[in-house]
């Protein structure tokens, strides 16, 4: 524990990794850094943390790759600001950029999911000299329209509405527990192996602030915060020639592949995929090893191995 009571180490049979920390924008950012080779950066979203990629690290490092798994500021073992105003999309892109520049990564593959998409792609598109490939999973990178799921009051908009979000997601930790449970295919396995890990890493209401703040950053109309950044993301992504692989959960009901993977394919016609795997939104939980294998295969091809 540090002075604020935050956990600085997490022990689990599937997470034997040494915690590492860097200061970025004044915050303490946790990451793991395993293996030797060109870096592969694995980026989680809401309400996950690096643990979401526990099935990826060994196969990728065994294939001769360096794997870096950061926890967003506000999640996992990273510092958790207690004011909503501490969290902005630009700030999170700058946090990731601060970390990856300190690590001086080059020839990097960015693997992104959920809010790891807008943040990871934001880094990639503003640091093109450091990035050589993209793996995109269950996310988006344009201003509008939102997913049908995100337009509905029940349950999405209600869940993070004023005062409801701090109560339901803060006091009751609804997203890291039941929310993730509802967004995997094999719920029994998830409950037995992982649910408590995601719940316990956010032990107190104040530590869960980003779970209801991130939903408020999803653009629903032209008045949304972050709209200009999403417009920039879409514009720059359309210019990207980076080798890209799309991987999607076949059962994803939030960012359904027919809408979202198809739109990425329109933006990035050269992208491979979408490779469909068993999975709802948190496809890493259902198909972690399989996706890691697809990443290795894709990188082997572009490396000419």
């Amino acid at each position: 524990m540090d002075a604020s009571g935050a956990a600085l180490r997490f022990t689990h049979e599937e997470w034997p990794y040494e915690p590492k920390f860097k200061q970025v924008n004044g915050w303490r950012m946790h990451y793991v850094d395993e293996g030797i080779g060109d870096p592969v950066v694995l980026l989680h979203g809401n309400p996950g943390w690096g643990f979401l990629y526990r099935k990826f690290i060994k196969p990728l490092t065994a294939a001769g790759r360096r794997v870096i798994v950061p926890d967003m500021i506000g999640f996992g073992l990273s510092e958790k600001p207690v004011r909503e105003q501490a969290h902005t999309l630009d700030g999170h892109i700058a946090n990731l950029t601060g970390l990856l520049r300190q690590l001086d990564v080059r020839n990097t593959t960015i693997v992104c999911h959920d809010w790891g998409g807008p943040t990871g792609l934001g880094f990639a598109l503003s640091n093109p000299d450091r990035v050589r490939a993209l793996i995109i999973m269950s996310t988006w990178a344009w201003p509008l329209p939102p997913a049908e799921f995100h337009k509905r009051i029940f349950p999405w908009r209600m869940m993070h509405a004023p005062l409801v979000g701090p109560c339901l997601l803060g006091r009751h930790n609804a997203l890291a527990g039941r929310g993730m449970y509802l967004s995997v295919v094999d719920r029994k396995k998830f409950r037995a192996e992982a649910q408590s890990v995601y719940e316990n890493i956010l032990p107190d209401p104040a530590s869960r602030l980003l779970t209801w703040t991130w939903p408020r950053w999803i653009p629903l109309d032209e008045s949304a915060r972050g709209l200009a950044r999403f417009e920039w993301l879409e514009r720059e992504l359309r210019k990207s020639k980076l080798p890209t692989l799309l991987v999607w959960g076949r059962e994803d009901e939030v960012f359904d592949h027919k809408t979202f993977a198809t739109r990425f394919k329109e933006l990035l016609p050269h992208a491979e995929g979408p490779e469909l795997v068993t999975g709802r939104h948190f496809l890493q939980e259902d198909s972690g090893e399989e996706i890691a294998g697809k990443i290795n295969g894709f990188l082997d091809r572009i490396e000419g191995r």
Binding site: R83, E84, Q85, I153, F154, P155, R157, M158, M159, H160, A161, P162, L163, V164, G165, P166, C167, L168, G170, R171, H172, A174, G177, R178, G179, L182, R216
Partner: protein, 133 residues
């Protein structure tokens, strides 16, 4: 009593303010801000006093409205229970009161926001306070 009642001048002597919830962005959906502005006459009262509500448990809560430069008022709300000064809170009772506060707020916001959807959301996420709602 199952709902909240706005009260004007609760007895504060011998009580303490016990923080229970904070909302940093009450205007995320502007109709929520408007509800509090109208319900507590904030255009006139502004920061002069908290809003007080009496909850189903009999606990009085203070709603402290927060202003932030450049943002419409109020920008945030802090919710405080007012228990006897040296007494701990009864957490299940607080949870039930907060759910009643949310139901009262959603009913007041109205329009597309329905208490039925709040209760259904609570049940989806298996909140015991929403189970019987």
């Amino acid at each position: 009593m199952t709902t909240m009642h706005v009260i004007e001048n609760p007895t504060l002597e011998g009580k303490r303010r016990a923080f229970v919830l904070a909302e940093d962005r009450v205007g995320h959906y502007p109709e929520f801000r408007e509800f509090f502005v109208k319900r507590f006459s904030l255009d006139a009262n502004a920061l002069s006093r908290p809003g007080y509500v009496l909850a189903p448990s009999g606990m009085v809560y203070a709603l402290v409205f927060i202003g932030r430069s450049g943002e419409p008022f109020p920008d945030g709300i802090e919710v405080y229970a007012l228990p006897d000064a040296l007494e701990p809170l009864n957490d299940p009772e607080i949870d039930a009161d907060l759910w009643a506060l949310l139901r009262w707020m959603i009913a007041g916001v109205g329009g597309a926001w329905r208490v039925e959807d709040l209760d259904a959301t609570g049940r989806l996420y298996q909140l015991s306070v929403a189970a019987g709602a």
